[in-house]
């Protein structure tokens, strides 16, 4: 409801403002251009975050002082604490950082962001920024159209800075002009009610603009043209500092639990800093005056004094919060906890069985077969074909052709919760089982089963990769490519079905060895897929990019099939242990299959 009415209300207010005041139009256009500049700047920095920033991040955040310095430097360079906090949250979610380092960066970012006020107050308000903005925009936009990622990124950064400068100039011009007609200073409020009211406005303005930087520039521009009082400007700056945490909170919605904790740490830090600044605003003003006098800032240069105030209260926040940082992290870890994830637990691996060798082996085998069955289900979901197909007699070709709807399952989540967790439990159990005795056939068998489990996991990983493009092409009209993907789907399902057949007839010693026939089929089919692909490229039915994706996916399909067969060979050999080992020693490897493909049929069939 609020969202539905908020945007139209803003539009109506803006339209009214445009109609009654040309200066309002200039100021809001300035804000819009400034924000667009921020977006371009973010886009530019994103181009560099994939490789370089990651490496720098790892090396420069292993100590608290390092992570704080990192926060200060990156925010000073990028001129956006929001961007730094959002990037930090994403790195934290990816496990590249721990929460402590993340909080350090956020503390540093709060100090780094104050450099913006210094730059604008000391430089931006005194010179014609538009003169610098224009060449930056021209060079920037030319670079944006370049094909290489780095040039494009540099282009966005330059264009972003250009738009930032242009936006500041517009805001400055707007306030200069507004000062000649209306006196906004008449709305000045004094005392604590004024501080609280203007701090509230500062929060609201930053939440709307999603940038404390934009709010601060607006405050500086208004202050420079004496549209607001110095005291109210300070309160606005405090408010903008608190409002900026909203971006990080929004950014943390899709992040991991540590990302959420970091966003909360950001909020706590900025609220504490804000409260300290509000509570001690008059004492801070005296400190600013004293400092300004000593560093040579004129008593009437309120914009620079605002920059001093901004730095001072953020520094105060860091000084107060730094000793409490460890406690804050502990508190957040205790209060913000992950929802209990339902993970797959072993059914057969009971404690105590580890010492009974044969029983332990049987338990591990049963659990691994369960892992295989769960994986087969996940693979079918990944291929967007109903799981029931594995049990049915229907022709695979027809079933696959008819399976045109994407099965909307989170494969990554299933992999993490069900398969990885279960495989982990199996490996742990095997390690404990082996603790009591060493060597011998039984150990070899346990190792083989462990390896089979690894093949199962790898098979699912292969399908996870394959699914990305499969899902894309299932939604497109590209029937030639889809036909190729259907062939890949068919092969994997055929392999799963054949393994199932061999499994059911596992009482005969021939059954598991018959899976070798599948290996030959996998090799022949994937070779044919490759040939078919050449043909499609030659006839220009698919473009080269699609062909590259398909080639990769053929490879994933082949590996998945091999992994399934290798796992099946171990898991479904039901004969006595000696016979199982003998049978497995006859199973053909990749080299032998390749050799067979070279030799003519008659010779081998003798």
């Amino acid at each position: 409801m609020l969202r539905k009415t908020f945007l139209p209300a803003i539009f109506v207010l803006l339209a009214y403002g445009f109609a009654v005041s040309a200066d309002f139009k200039t100021i809001t256009a300035g804000i819009a251009i400034f924000l667009f500049g921020m977006l371009a700047l973010e886009e530019g920095f994103k181009a560099f975050t994939a490789g370089g920033l990651e490496k720098i991040l790892r090396a420069s955040t292993n100590k608290l002082w390092k992570s704080m310095t990192f926060g200060i430097v990156t925010t000073s360079v990028m001129q956006s604490s929001s961007l730094v906090s959002v990037v930090t949250i994403s790195f934290l979610s990816a496990g590249l950082l721990d929460l402590m380092s993340g909080v350090g960066i956020i503390f540093g970012a709060n100090l780094g962001t104050t450099t913006g006020a210094w730059l604008v107050a000391g430089f931006g308000l005194k010179v014609n920024l538009a003169a610098y903005a224009m060449p930056m925009l021209v060079f920037g936009i030319i670079l944006v159209f370049q094909p290489t990622k780095n040039l494009k990124g540099t282009g966005y950064v330059l264009a972003g800075l250009g738009f930032l400068f242009l936006g500041i100039q517009f805001m400055k011009d707007g306030f200069d002009s507004i000062g000649q007609t209306i006196d906004l200073a008449q709305y000045t409020m004094t005392g604590y009610p004024g501080v609280l009211a203007f701090a509230g406005i500062g929060v609201a303005a930053t939440v709307i603009m999603q940038s404390s930087h934009a709010t601060l520039i607006l405050i500086l521009a208004a202050l420079a043209s004496q549209q607001i009082s110095y005291e109210n400007a300070l309160a606005l700056a405090i408010g903008s500092n608190v409002g900026t945490t909203v971006t990080a909170i929004i950014g943390s919605f899709g992040s991991s639990i540590d990302g959420k904790r970091l966003a909360m740490a950001h909020l706590v830090f900025n609220i504490v800093t804000g409260l300290l600044a509000i509570g001690g605003i008059y004492q801070l003003m005296i400190a600013v005056e004293w400092l300004s006098r000593h560093v040579g800032i004129a008593a009437d240069n309120y914009t620079l004094q605002l920059a001093v105030f901004h730095t001072l209260f953020n520094l105060l926040g860091v000084i107060v919060m730094l000793p409490l940082m460890r406690s804050l992290v502990k508190f957040l870890e205790k209060t913000i906890v992950a929802d209990e994830i339902e993970i797959e637990r072993p059914l057969y691996l009971s404690a105590g069985l580890e010492d009974i060798r044969d029983a332990a082996l049987e338990a591990v085998r049963k659990e691994s077969i369960r892992l295989y069955d769960l994986a087969a289900g996940v693979i079918m979901d990944g291929l967007s074909v109903s799981r029931d197909v594995l049990e049915s007699e229907e022709k695979v070709k027809r079933v696959v052709k008819q399976s045109t709807d994407i099965i909307d399952e989170d494969i990554d989540d299933l992999y993490e919760r069900k398969l990885k967790a279960l495989y982990g439990a199996i490996v742990e159990y095997i390690v404990h089982s082996r603790g009591g005795y060493s060597g011998g056939r039984l150990n070899e068998e346990l190792n083989a089963i462990r390896q089979a489990g690894q093949h199962v996991i790898e098979a699912v990983k292969g399908v996870k990769h394959l699914r990305k493009n499969l899902t894309r092409f299932m939604q497109s009209d590209d029937r030639f490519t889809m036909k190729e993907y259907n062939r890949l789907r068919r092969l994997i399902i055929t392999v799963l079905r054949e393994i199932d057949t061999a499994r059911k007839s596992a009482s005969e010693s021939k059954s598991v060895l018959s899976l070798d026939h599948l290996k030959l089929e996998i090799e022949e089919k994937t070779r044919d897929f490759g040939k078919g692909l050449d043909d499609l490229i030659r006839k220009e039915r698919i473009d080269v990019q699609t062909a590259t994706s398909l080639m990769n996916d053929i490879s994933y399909c082949r590996e998945t099939c091999w992994d399934l067969v290798e796992a099946g060979t171990v898991l479904f050999s039901a004969s006595g242990l000696d016979e199982t080992v003998a049978m497995r020693s006859l199973a053909l490897g990749e080299d032998e299959i390749a050799e067979m493909m070279e030799s003519p049929d008659e010779e081998a069939a003798r």
Binding site: G576, V581, A582, M583, L586
Partner: protein, 88 residues
């Protein structure tokens, strides 16, 4: 001297390693026999089959079994020669 030689032979017969090798030999023989039966069954099936696709399928299965048997027979031969070496 003769008694010592006989004792060594007895030790060899009773050793765990020899026992394991013997078991391996027997198991392999069993598997190879099962593969031979399967091979004959497939050969008969191939002779009776007229459908080209089915024939191709059976032929490649036969190809695989032949390769497996060839591999198995080599291992069996090695095991046998090792056993003979020990008994002399």
């Amino acid at each position: 001297m003769k008694a010592e030689k006989m004792l060594n032979k007895l030790k060899d017969i009773l050793s765990a390693e020899r026992q394991a090798q013997l078991e391996k030999y027997e198991s392999l023989k069993k598997v190879l026999k099962a593969l031979r039966v399967e091979k004959r069954r497939l050969q008969a099936e191939l002779a009776a089959e007229t459908d080209e696709d089915a024939r191709h399928e059976i032929a490649s299965r036969l190809k695989v079994i032949s390769k497996q048997r060839k591999k198995g027979l080599t291992v069996l031969e090695e095991l046998k020669s090792e056993r003979d070496k020990r008994s002399h």
